[in-house]
Symmetry: D3
């Protein structure tokens, strides 16, 4: 399974333990990204196509050609219950690769949503179906079916590297990719961070300043920060 090979469908994807994925889905993208050590985030131009869209699941990946959604149909067959479809493109293209029919097909297979470095359409239907999609554009322009890409190879989209079976988490704050082998570690770090934040939230709500909670006054002074009337 080589990065960027063209014309191949890998039918075997090692997926992570569904319980771990389920537990990860409780955390927001910002928390997961911190738990990752601040790597794995897609560029922020990928946005939810409707308010409130969220998803979490292992990736089935697909590499598309510009203006061509043929491989999405090929990929649909590889999707299993709980998967997220992650679609990269060999070049920048904002055509509408995806709409309500493909969403219906994916949903029938248990797909949890789509992340695509391209455009989508039928957005009103997607919202009504509550099928979460994160994309770079909304665009009614349809696509053709003429050129091979690949399914379940490692792909790069929105500057993030995604391998089949890596876990993708997306919400209003963005899209983050958790490598399968780091899933447990990230889960624990996320839980720890969230517990930690809960306490801080109460402290801040009570009026304590970050300056004091984080003991910042001394290092700021050491760097020369001065207060003036």
């Amino acid at each position: 399974m080589q990065h960027s090979e063209i014309g191949v469908v890998h039918t075997k994807v090692e997926r992570p333990d569904p319980d771990l994925v389920e537990r990860l889905s409780a955390f927001g993208v910002a928390t997961v990204h911190e738990a990752m050590g601040r790597v794995g985030l897609m560029r922020p131009y990928i946005r939810p196509v409707y308010a409130g869209a969220r998803l979490c699941g292992p990736a089935v990946t697909v590499l598309l050609q510009p203006g061509d959604n043929w491989m999405l149909h090929v990929a649909a067959e590889q999707v299993q219950e709980g998967d997220v479809l992650v679609a990269a493109c060999t070049t920048e293209c904002e055509d509408g690769f995806f709409g309500d029919l493909l969403a219906t097909s994916l949903r029938a297979r248990g797909c949890r949503g789509l992340v695509i470095d391209g455009g989508v359409r039928d957005v009103a239907d997607l919202e009504e179906m509550e099928f979460p999609v994160f994309s770079r554009a909304i665009n009614a322009k349809g696509t053709i079916k003429a050129t091979l890409g690949s399914v379940n190879i490692p792909v790069v989209l929105a500057n993030a590297f995604v391998r089949p079976g890596d876990v993708v988490v997306a919400d209003v704050d963005g899209v983050v990719v958790v490598p399968q082998e780091r899933l447990l570690e990230v889960l624990e770090a996320a839980a720890k961070r969230e517990a930690n934040e809960e306490g801080k939230r109460a402290t801040f709500a009570g009026g304590t300043l970050g300056l004091d909670l984080y003991e910042m006054r001394e290092p700021l002074a050491a760097l020369g920060l001065r207060y003036e009337d």
Copy 2:
């Protein structure tokens, strides 16, 4: 009536049969665009200014000068019940050419909405009035009234060519322009496509794959697509 002449208001617009327009308004932009043969779509940077905005109607066109909305007032007089105002600009400008007062005036004349390759303001009022606007920007910056443009000449905006009387359809997926002489043909193609899609939707919901429904397996194999474990 020549493309891009400056300083002219054409008072006679041949409008399409309102019944046909009414029937077209039942279809979404993605469907109409497919029915057109995938031409006539505006660039996707034109977006609705509030969620749920939709419009359909024959165009009254106006060519604006940058930072100047004088011609919108001239155009208002040419608007009739059911029309959509379509505003191009001689250069790229995101100033707020349009707000709630002009919307009130247009509504009083039966106008169905505005598509503008520029900015608009008073967006909260527009949403409350349910006056649909599709624009390239939201911007409080007002405009002056100093330079002539034209009304009801053919215009180009967001890379689409629009003649007075052409039918403009806009929703969350974008904005498409149907040449008046193609209206009936497009209507029929759209109806056919939608009927066709209804059946497909049920098929997909039942779990059939596009690979099988569209008989894609053979052509994919012929191009060399291979499956690997």
Copy 3:
């Protein structure tokens, strides 16, 4: 208090009369911007992070370094009841400088919201808290605490100049800055404009055209506008 000095916190901000600020908060950004004589508007890439966000208040300003939110903590201490935090950056950066913890801390101090020429995260929480934020991006990417900036110096963000104590008004139409010394004058001009617009709205709703209300027909004809069938 000099523009762009680094490493200083000015603890004394002359704030405007809260009653005047309260009265200004009744007006929308488009109205205030007109009342200002069409200056003081931020570039329109600064957008509300959730639908319905609005704010009005005197500015506490902060100059951030790229990818570093340390100064937001320093600024928090300078915030008083009713203030708006206004954050500029020494360079273009869309990292997530701000999230729900800082929002909680600011709210505890009575802060009315944030305007930032950068990214923010925890947007779902911000919306739930109804803490209004206007930013250039939504981005889960966190920031470090390593480099000094300044608090309560004059700053430039989104091409607008803001001094501590200037009043910032933001809604769906954009963000405008009212210099403290012009507050009364702007308030009066805004009130006058709104009263004036109320009358106009009724006139337009009744079907009168702007061409007639504003007596535009003569100057248009003088410039050579011609009407053709």
Copy 4:
């Protein structure tokens, strides 16, 4: 010959008098655009791919599909001595539709250059060949040959409307389109403007101000411009 029809090659193009084209080629784009009455200019994102590129000639037009340059080969056959090839695309696409081989083929037919709302490659070769190209991007990404477009239909690119036989002028200042029926009029206006500017240039070089040459002091004062120490 209808705007945006797909799958047609019009083999008959009425071209303007070559002498008029030759005379027009002596003027820069800024002068021609003024002579046109400030219409017909492409959006400024279309740029020369090498310093010093210039072209002038009647358009052979082509409508491309995204990521597909098949129609450029079809268009090449329609090019005659002195023509400029003008390539629009049904959607936004920055792939490299054009390179040195097509340039060689077009040059063999007497083509004067290319304007394309897409990407091109082999730019070093194009510069060495002195084959002028104006494009929206430089991009090594190649294209396929799968879908029909059209040749010699009216097209829209970079927000300009171009019909076969219209004259396209391009230099470092941009790209302007002169409708064939306006060629003589524009030529005369351009010549007049240039003669006029020659005199002005000498006047300005001698130290006279525009304020005096254009008698601006009075209207400025009438609007209330005041001078202060």
Copy 5:
């Protein structure tokens, strides 16, 4: 002299010592920006319009209205030998505000160049004249003369704050603004930095690494950087 007042020309500008300006002109923008403490830089979208353009001089400032270059003529009269004209705009506009005639007029008055947050045209002439211009766009689209702005008020452009008499330095690396009162200090810091860099350049050329020259190995190890085969 107030920020953003409209309709005023300030005729008295306190200019810095020409000798200091002359000395500053020996330094590049990157060096001056470091000497400033990394503030005062314009956003990098302002670019030279031809290769090799450079300028340095005290600013005469002008605030333009969109698509309107009237105030450039008013500003020309305020320019003295050695000045640089700095043009802001009340909104984003890429029209061609400036061309060879205005350049000729400015040169006749001893102007050293233009920095403009807008478009310019006649770029081939500007290069031939060697009149340096830094702009946000090249655009043949001309402008009108209808609305007042101001001359010699403090302005904001490309997110930098510029007062009349501040010194502007521009080269291929960007544009930086030196407040007049900091000129001597910045000059000294720039000279010191350059002397320092000269030595470093020789050291680096000799093969010494920054890791050793700047003694970075220890702090990197302290943060936990580890080396692996």
Copy 6:
């Protein structure tokens, strides 16, 4: 060696046979990209900082933090004769991470150039030194040295995946990455393509059309392309 780990420097890079790299350097980016099967190309926003810049060599990779160039110094030590430095960033940042001092240091180690998904400065010096740099921006804004990244881990930049030792080729057409294990294969395909193109060039120069050379007339007709007067 894992994708995106932070705080590690891998000191062992398996480099390809220098003779193969030397042979690859004879081909342009467009040719190599075709030989790769149209994968591996960086997004076209990465541009040469001066005209004529070209490079080819195995990658030493570095992952930077925003506004922080510390890791470039760490990476410099890992560079060997013939290497190209390839710098990714954990977020989008256009600060000037790199200038003439680092270029001098890299050159002293035999480095062939830099590809960076960020900004650079001292561009006039880089051109004079003939040190080729491909970047997303030119920006005088300097950076700090505060946070760890990594050296010689696989990185993603401009949407391309690069591992240490992969060969990077860059010229005016863009930047392409050749996986080390595909080097020989790509070299052969490139040579074959170029030989093939040489013949085609002569054929095209002689007036033969692509329509005939590629036997396109039949498939075009089969799809329904029609010719009309």
